[in-house]
Symmetry: C2
Subunit: 103 residues, 2 copies
Amino acid sequence: MEDKLLKDLFLGFIKVHILHHAAKERIYGQEFSEELQRHGYQISYGTLYPLFHKLEETGYLISANENVHGKVRRYYSITANGKKILEKAKLQAKELVGELYEG
Amino acid sequence: MEDKLLKDLFLGFIKVHILHHAAKERIYGQEFSEELQRHGYQISYGTLYPLFHKLEETGYLISANENVHGKVRRYYSITANGKKILEKAKLQAKELVGELYEG
DNA sequence: GAATATAATATCGTATTTCGATATTGTAAA
DNA sequence: TTTACAATATCGAAATACGATATTATATTC
């Protein structure tokens, strides 16, 4: 990440994007991290996994372990509350970006 | 702030908005904080002032003290480097929001 | 069927960030 | 020369982020 300011901006978004992806399909840490990297972003596993835990603890995600080729994956799906807060966050994000471009 | 997730999103944006406002006109802490509150956001002075310091230290802002009615204000203006990073941040923010709304 | 390999998750100690509260600054007015 | 006060600065505690390391659980190998 080129600059700390851009990273901070991204970190604020990351939680929203987790919910966004989990609303479309089940996600798990390793894959989610790799997809971020494909888009040029990066987040430490020491940040990502605790983030998942916190989002589940708060009731926005729900998880279930699954064995895939002998390896354990913890898949996360969004909850009803998660969907609600995601919609709010999307509106807020749009509004904040809008302010940057108006005028 | 209703929810921590929304707050985190906002906190990522706040640094960009500081630069955004400082690019339009000189800003100072007290006034900036009040304007945020008018828009329904909030940030502690214990966060805001160190943030200004860091942005100046990094070379994105430059400040000058001024006496207004016997009170000292530290006005911040954006620098050339600040403008550069602001443009990058605006693009990144737009892209990240765009992803939330596509499809 | 015991040992090994491996994808993935979990956690550890350290450094940084955020917070509310308190202290400090500098000048105008009393 | 004291007092008042807007504004900035800083403090200690709590939360977050990081890279590195440990743990988990099953397939595979011998």
